[in-house]
């Protein structure tokens, strides 16, 4: 059965919001978080083409890698939202793509306990396509003090950004890391201090390639990866944290 047929079937056989499918992972936060992050109007379908890659267990609860692979997902994307079901603040990021959406997004997140991770993408017909994965964990990643702040020299490295543009058969992969404690605000006496906004623009046209909002579930010293088909390796990265620090760098075209 084709994807569209499945969507059509789901869309016709079920009324609009009651169309929320059963969670294959049986998470207690399923309905609550779907409604919280996707609203209760647009239909939601489970879609394995939204590949959510996480390890089966978290070796380090403060740094759990997530890769969203949309290389098999053919439809245009208007929004992408990711959350970690059982974290104190589940939201991880919301992403608005430019005209040519990223086919792969990767970053690390924190886990407070074993949990499902969700990524939903909104198609042009207003349907959310949702992929899930489960990660086992000893936990505590959200309430552990950041390693960065424990290092007396952290201010010297604060805001240091390393990056690269890696060519692909089609297009380019951007990868960059920024030294930032990303304090979740959940550690006693350490207020929320994290990067909220990430914008990637094409250098030539200044058109946004993507705009991203990060939340408390994002890991410290973020390492972000975005892959685009048919994109030149020249882009400008701009980020701002909740204290107003701005970071701007050229990606790609480096010697």
């Amino acid at each position: 059965m084709t994807r569209l047929a499945i969507i059509a079937l789901l869309a016709t056989s079920l009324p609009a919001w009651a169309g929320l499918p059963t969670d294959p992972y049986g998470s207690p936060m399923w309905e609550y978080n779907v409604e919280r992050y996707l609203g209760n109007v647009a239909p939601v379908v489970l879609d394995e083409q939204v590949q959510v890659k996480v390890p089966p267990f978290a070796e380090n609860s403060s740094q759990v890698p997530l890769t969203v692979d949309l290389s098999n997902y053919p439809l245009p994307i208007r929004e992408m939202v990711a959350w970690v079901d059982l974290n104190p603040i589940p939201h991880l990021f919301s992403l608005t793509p430019g005209p040519a959406p990223a086919t792969l997004v990767s970053m690390n997140f924190r886990v407070q306990q074993a949990t499902t991770v969700r990524v939903a993408v909104l198609d042009d017909d207003g349907v959310w396509h949702l992929g899930s994965a489960f990660v086992d964990a000893a936990g505590g990643g959200c309430t552990a003090p950041s390693m960065t702040a424990a290092n007396p020299d952290w201010e010297q490295n604060f805001g240091t950004i390393r990056g690269g543009a890696f060519s692909r058969v089609d297009g380019v992969r951007f990868k960059f890391s920024v030294m930032h404690p990303m304090d979740s605000g959940m550690v006693d006496g350490v207020p929320l201090f994290h990067i909220e906004h990430v914008v990637l623009r094409d250098s030539a046209s200044s058109d946004p390639l993507l705009t991203m909002n990060l939340s408390e579930s994002a890991a410290e010293n973020p390492m972000l990866v975005f892959e685009f088909g048919h994109q030149t390796p020249d882009a400008v990265l701009w980020m701002r944290d909740n204290n107003g620090n701005e970071f701007e760098r050229k990606l790609g075209g480096q010697p």
């Binding site: 890659k53 740094q63 997530l66 890769t67 000893a138 890696f166 960059f176 890391s177 390492m223 480096q254």
Partner: protein, 313 residues
Amino acid sequence: MIRRAAIVMLCWLVGAPVVSAPELAYNLEAREIAKGTWVIEGSTGNFSRDNGGNIVNVAFVITGDGVVVIDSGPSRLYGEALRRLIESKTSEPITHVLITHHHPDHAFGSQAFDPDTLYMLDGAREMLEEEGDGFSDNMYRLVGDWMRGTEVVVPANTLEPGILDVGDHRFQLLELTGHTGSDLVVLDETTGVLFASDMVFYNRALTTPQSPGLMIWAGELARLEELPYRIVVPGHGPIVSDDSAFRQMADYLGWLYQTLTASASRGLSASEVMQQPIPHRFDAVEGAEYELIRTTTHLYPKYESSALVLLPE
């Protein structure tokens, strides 16, 4: 939850006795691999409630003037079983318990032994002091009741690298770093048995939580192989009397290094690295997929960082 509550209620209503857990016992068996030299071989699995953490090779040498024990096992219960086993083989006193490194499967049975007989390298002692409680929490989570009564014991005596003479045996003590930053390897010059500790894993994927680096480890491994050994007792996996454990270990370390380096140079994300297939030549290596996930977590960030350039403001 509700169902469990219902079962509890039911038991209570019909007056059924509460079922108690079966008595946990390790049933350790020792094998004599050289004169007076016994090894208790653990499984090559992960810590679990089924194996009680008995995934490690522990050894003892009856020297004629006291017993030298190499590692104390994963729990108090294990340590006590180990002591009884030694006492069943000899009436000589246990004079030395050498703890090779600070990982729980090697160091958590020490309560069963006289504190004055416990020895450890200085660096390893410091790490046990620092990280022991964290390991302990994790062990209780992973193997549960087998850990009952286990507390971290930091050995009182510092071990210096060099020669240790006990009874008829001369031991060469070496300090290395590849696995944890402070790893003891013991060569019994009298019998040619090399107690390689976790510097050598055989048919079991190596673990890297505190490794200073794969190539550092590989370099030290090459040094160890030069030693005049006859038999190799790896920290995990079967005992061998040729160089097969060294061969596999060197190959595996090299493959890990290549994989992480090549992945970083292609800009792969950590989750992509974790999902890479293990080459078939390592089919005999237990836990390779599991340990690749862990090793990527521990070591890949460094490889990633060096494949990226500092972006000027």
